[in-house]
Symmetry: none
Subunit: 423 residues, 2 copies
């Protein structure tokens, strides 16, 4: 079964509102095992809305329509539905009463146009409104099938307000769709987050496995580039029930982890800082930072989640060179250098009273510094009786250089803590 | 002129990524006075991508296509463009060389499939890649016009990575579109950014002016709530040419500034940190920070723009209480207090060798600390021979408390520097 999404509203086309509804609906459809090949945004223009609905009905068996159900002149989804169904709109007195009662209960006067929301195309069934004033609609429509015989397709109309839409989708639309699709399967997904290889490198590591899975068709893999969040590999598995599907996912995760090794730093919502935090926490180690070009980003990320006080001591953001010399004890000289990064890490560990010192210094750009190009970054790490440094040459503008420096530093620390286990 | 947007990528349909690109592009088109009636999302399927391009070309004179230009098998936008144009793809050696050089400069091995990004449909012109590896494309295409005579339409292909897309749109696509559209009216907008009043308070200050403008119809005002970026008032003006339109905007800005006073901290992209930076810079003053619950956010924001080294000395992120006592000289006692904030500001100014010390300490949550509720925050400021503190009770979760603390601290400093002028 195929189901398209049509989001209605000129404000969406003008970029005044980002259409998060279609994304949310797309995700629900995927999890329900229903294919969705197109999503369309159309403005508040009747002819264009009608053409968008008709096109979606040609290509798919079901259409979810979001928005345009409100009381104002701009809200013409109901009229367009009636036109596509070839029927009239009729005022539903029971809905009109509910709308009047809602205003009365809130002690607010009701503008007459609110009753437009009680107009229903003949033949449509109603999805009772529980949060907003407008009910949703389930509109069956007969459409010529491939052999010319008419077949029944369906349009669902839900409000554009996200929490109203989501409640109606879960209560009425998705159950109705599942019933119509006859899809018995459970679909689940899991995302492995990686850092340290390119998209093409990742594709090469997994090429053999992808070919195997392509033949089998289940589970499937998808790559997602996520900028400074690294590259993600999403596993989607389909099974007759939840337990079997979870087993499929778990098995595939095992296979991929073997192929990818320790470039996998987390699963689903686990960020790099969460990975580092849990390694430090498990080892009872405290961390002190010395930052330069990142200006505090590294500390900000590490303290984004609660519980950081167990292992985070603080950060010396030594933006001015004299602060590096005076506060961190970096020897005078070029501050964009491996030697400076090492001294900063040692200095941070000392003045912040931490077990581990992590430092980052470099050139964010746009201008060069100490004769070094923008994107030149040194990471320093002091742990136990060793220090190590990394020289990086990072692409992109100032923001990206700072972001990449941050995650690169965290990844260096992550590997060092993992090696400690291995060693 | 009409221009549609087609976003390519199965991950968009599956809801793994929210399509913010189309919204951004829609906003740019509106500002350029170009109509956009439909936006479509389509997955990585060649036949469906081709049908989406063809449909958009039937309905509109131009199509902006976003995504699917990467190196992997999923990236088939180039193939689809060539099919719609009825031409071959030819490898462009110059682009291939640039891609090879990009990998070489980063010291990373290049998988051979990266060179797919150098394939160009015959007849297309190239938008040079400056941030990512894939160039953009401008693809003219002859399409039957209303009277059967062929007319030239155009497809633009840009990468799906937002910052790469935006850079190419501004540098190449929008100028080309404006040229083709020959749009005679100039539409320009300017946004005033405010901090320190509620949305309803702002609406009251501007009520009279809004009534006046509603009658006149040009310029128009819109309010935009932007969370920690404050509330924005957007002026949109339309005129026969750029000079007249700019004069309209400037006049309206003057009227609004008189009504709003010093809650206006910036215009358009001027963030609070840029406002603070320019005040410090103009006065030749240097700043040192002491942060606790913000973990480095304040420093990170202040150093986001280049040029901070002229006035930013650094930050002591004293997350652990002992770091406050030992490094900043805060007297032992409760660290979530006005006294601690004041001592931190004085300590930061001293150890970082700055003219101004700004400090923030508080409870980000979710748990309370020192008997204080989450959201309790103290800001301290040390400047010349005075210190001042502010006690804040901020709403929201951990993220919002940290963000609001940051901007509140910056706004305190901004007012103090402005008072210095007045005094």
């Amino acid at each position: 079964m195929r189901c398209e999404v049509v989001a209605v509203g000129t404000e969406l086309l003008l970029g005044q509102i980002v259409d998060t509804n279609s994304s949310w609906i797309g995700e629900q459809l995927a999890l329900a095992g229903i294919d969705s090949h197109f999503q369309t945004k159309v403005g508040d223009n009747r002819a264009r809305i009608v053409s968008a609905f008709r096109l979606a009905l040609e290509r798919s068996e079901a259409v979810i329509i979001c928005g345009g159900l409100g009381p104002t002149q701009d809200d013409i989804t109901r009229d367009a539905l009636a036109e596509v169904m070839g029927v009239e709109l009729v005022r539903d007195d029971a809905i009109a009463d509910v709308i009047r009662q809602m205003f009365a209960a809130r002690g607010r006067p009701m503008a007459e146009n609110n009753l437009n929301q009680a107009d229903v195309p003949v033949g449509a069934s109603i999805i009772e409104q529980r949060r907003g004033t407008a009910p949703g609609l389930i509109c069956p429509v007969m459409v010529p099938g491939p052999d010319g015989e008419p077949i029944e397709k369906v349009m669902y109309a839900v409000p554009g307000v996200p929490h109203e839409m989501q409640e109606m989708m879960e209560r009425a639309v998705l159950p109705d769709l599942r019933l119509r699709s006859g899809e018995p399967a459970t679909i689940l997904s899991r995302t492995l987050r990686t850092w340290g290889d390119s998209e093409s490198g990742l594709a090469e590591r997994l090429a053999g496995r992808i070919t195997e899975l392509d033949e089998r068709g289940n589970p499937t893999l998808a790559f997602l580039a996520s900028g400074i969040e690294g590259l993600k590999v999403r596993i989607t598995a389909k099974g007759p029930d939840e337990i079997t599907t979870r087993e499929l996912l778990a098995h595939e995760e095992g296979v991929l982890r073997t192929l990818l090794g320790d470039i996998v730093f987390g699963v689903d919502d686990e960020t790099m800082e969460i990975a580092v935090a849990s390694l430090l926490d498990a080892r009872g180690l405290t961390l002190g930072l010395a930052e330069s070009l990142t200006g505090g980003l590294l500390g900000a990320r590490l303290t984004a989640a609660p519980g950081a006080s167990a292992w985070f001591r603080g950060s010396v953001v030594s933006y001015a060179s004299e602060v590096k010399f005076d506060l961190l004890g970096v020897p005078e000289g070029p501050v964009v250098s491996a030697a400076a990064a090492e001294a900063m890490a040692l200095g941070a560990r000392k003045v912040l009273g931490a077990d581990v010192g992590l430092a980052v210094t470099g050139v964010a750009g746009p201008a060069e510094q100490d004769g070094q190009e923008p994107g030149t970054v040194f990471v320093g790490l002091a742990f136990e009786d060793t220090t190590e440094t990394r020289e990086l040459h990072l692409p992109g503008d100032r923001d990206r250089v700072r972001d990449f420096s941050t995650i690169s530093a965290l990844d260096l620390l992550r590997h060092r803590l993992l090696e400690q286990d291995a060693g």
